[in-house]
Amino acid sequence: MNDAIWLIIAFVLMLLAMGWFALSLKTHWKQVMSGKPASRLLRSLGWICVALSGLACLQADHASMAVLVWIMLSATAAFIVGQVLSYRPGLLKPLALFRA
């Protein structure tokens, strides 16, 4: 498959991961949903996506380059999710899957 597609997949996975990390925190869960989050489950989902995103990076590039892309994607995705929570928290609703 095309490298660009793998990179897009890596980016989307990282966004999902950061979204779930954020929702595993009570304050942010409350911004989108009532009740309490199933923190452990959401966080595990997040870690799985982080790992999958790393694999997607490896599909696109040489390992040394993939590591850099992976780290920089995590920074960018975390910042985006933070801004989304501040301006349009509703966008994260589809990710609020598991309530405690």
């Binding site: 304050t27 040489h62 040394s64 920074a75």
Partner: protein, 570 residues
């Protein structure tokens, strides 16, 4: 200083280190972020070079002729010649008669133009063991071999790029030392920052922009600092590694010079590469054949590639040899996989062995920072990282002022007022100076003598003016209000960004519809789009600042009314 806890001590350290060095780090981060696209900015600034990147042209048919035309630099000749030359041994050779000893050519996958240079030997040297080279450089269009005129400053790679590691203060390399110290203390600031910030993960995604100004600024400071922490850490760290060797411990060129030269001679002998000229003239073999052989050997090692750097040593001598290095565009690590040829016979003298693990880690760390790789997506991610760093430092300044200005206003102190004026200068003023330089570049006719120097002058004077403006408008801060210079300079950024794009269009005919759709040229389109994006962000910021300003004014007038009402009641 008495601290009740380590955390308090760390907070003190973070505050004051950050304040003093933040101004330098801001320059490093902002111009570092621009340097990711330095070659593209060069294209924007020198329209004559807006064509596609070229591979290394034929040495025998094209480069050799250019090398022979290169002259030793006049200023360097005046400065260095008396030092290198031993007057008691013989006449000083006139500048244009110096014999060439070394040729080099350098290009990357992003360079349409080719940089070349020659090192000239000094007959009757005072120190025969020394390097004794007078240099001359040129940049050519590799399709024709014609020189790109020298008065055209490469604003990206010769101004913004060195600015981010030397502040372009070259007197005694003072700029390098300041940046190095700032880089080191940035590591300290990062560690102390993490220490005092107790809720790293719990507040990672927190930006409470509706809370107080102080709260929201601190949230943004924490977020931009923490999300890109690995980036901030690695760039400060690798930057230090790259420069420590060159600039902080240059003992190999001072105290240990004799040992260093001896080492070089031994190394050269071990590698089979002659360290000295033989003194016997000899004709040169075909370099193109050597390039073909080097490419064949790289391909055999499963790393086919183009030539990035080519160097001919001891030109015209029996001991001549040619070193050919591979362009490292497909990996992070900076390795040349150099192959060295006998310049007279054309035989391979040596193939550089693969690097050891320790060397490979060094190559990776240096490569990570210097980015010779071909990966547009990662380049943009680096820009984002750099801009997050800028946002982190800028909000750091703002928080410093916000936290203190009420107290300072009550005590009649000018502290936060002065810090705020410096912050305006380094945040908005720096952006204005950079864009003003680009606009000057498009307005000054390309034939103007000393064009590059005028552009540099514009850069420094606009930056100085932004400081004067910030100081002039700063009285408000001493009354615990916001300096109107923030808003005014942001308005200026919004206007100048658009003006620069229009100036590019009018002076070259390259507008965005052409550079994106009809005749795509992404280097120029990218710079234009970034300028417009900057304008847009500035515009949004102005809108936000105006709204805040209005609510502040409302609160003030209602408070005043309350105060006068109370006075009347009394």
């Amino acid at each position: 200083m008495q601290f009740n806890s380590t955390r308090q001590g760390m907070a003190w350290l973070h505050t004051w280190l950050g304040l003093i060095l933040g101004f330098v780090l801001m320059v490093c981060f902002f111009f570092g972020a621009l340097s990711v696209f330095d070659r593209e900015i060069d294209r924007w600034a020198i329209p004559e070079t807006r064509f596609d990147p070229q591979p290394m042209p034929s040495f025998d048919n094209l480069l050799m002729g250019v090398f022979e035309r290169i002259e030793p630099d006049e200023a360097e000749y005046k400065r260095m010649m008396p030092e290198y030359h031993d007057a008691s041994a013989g006449e000083m050779t006139p500048r244009l008669e110096l014999p060439a000893d070394e040729y080099w050519a350098y290009t990357t996958h992003r360079d349409p133009v080719l940089r070349m240079g020659a090192g000239f030997r000094v007959p009757f040297p005072a120190n025969p063991e020394g390097h004794n080279h007078i240099h001359g450089n040129t940049t050519i269009d590799p399709r024709t071999g014609l020189s790109v005129p020298d008065h055209h400053l490469k604003i990206g790679s010769e101004w913004f790029y060195p600015l981010h590691y030397s502040l372009n203060l070259n007197w005694n390399r003072i700029g390098f030392f300041i940046v190095g110290i700032a880089g080191f203390f940035m590591l300290v600031a990062l560690i102390s920052g993490v220490w005092i910030h107790r809720k790293i993960f719990r507040e990672l995604f927190t930006f409470r922009r509706h809370k107080s100004k102080q709260r929201s600024i601190l949230d943004m400071h924490n977020m931009t600092g923490v999300v890109a922490l690995p980036f901030h850490f690695f760039f400060a760290f690798t930057g230090l590694i790259i420069f420590v060797a060159f600039y902080y411990m240059p003992v190999t060129n001072t105290m240990l010079e004799p040992l260093h030269s001896a080492q070089q001679a031994i190394e050269a002998e071990e590698m089979g590469l002659p360290h000295e000229r033989a003194g016997i003239p000899a004709p040169m073999a075909s370099v193109d054949a050597m390039v073909a052989e080097a490419k064949r050997r790289w391909a055999a090692r499963d790393m086919a590639g183009e030539v990035g750097f080519l160097q001919m040593h001891h030109v015209g001598d029996q001991n001549a040899y040619v070193s050919i290095y591979r362009a490292g565009s497909d990996r992070v690590a900076l390795v040349g996989e150099g192959i060295h040829f006998n310049g007279v016979t054309g035989d391979v003298l040596r193939e550089d062995p693969p690097h050891s693990l320790a060397e490979s880690i060094g190559d990776f760390l240096a490569g990570l920072h210097l980015q010779h790789f071909e990966h547009w997506f990662l380049r943009w991610l680096y820009v984002i990282g750099g801009l997050l760093g800028c946002a982190c430092i800028a909000t750091g300044f703002m928080f410093f002022v916000e936290k203190r200005k009420q107290q300072h206003a009550k005590a009649g102190s000018q502290g936060s007022r002065i810090v705020d004026a410096f912050a305006v200068t380094t945040v908005t003023g720096m952006v204005i100076a950079a864009i003003a330089m680009l606009i000057a570049n498009r307005i000054i006719p390309s034939a103007t003598e000393g064009k590059g120097d005028i552009e540099k002058l514009v850069f420094w004077s606009v930056w100085a003016l932004s400081f004067l403006h910030a100081i002039w408008r700063s009285a408000a801060v001493a009354l615990a209000k916001t300096n109107p210079a923030w808003r005014e300079q942001t308005v200026l950024i919004a206007i100048l960004g658009a003006v620069a794009v229009i100036a590019n269009w009018i002076s070259t005919g390259d507008h965005l519809i052409k550079t994106i759709f009809t005749d795509p040229y992404w280097a120029v389109a990218g710079v234009d789009l970034s300028l417009l994006a900057g304008s847009l962000i500035a515009l949004l910021a102005v809108k936000k600042m105006t709204a805040t300003h209005k609510t502040e004014r409302k609160q003030e007038t209602s408070q005043e009314k309350l105060a006068t009402g109370e006075a009347a009641y009394e």
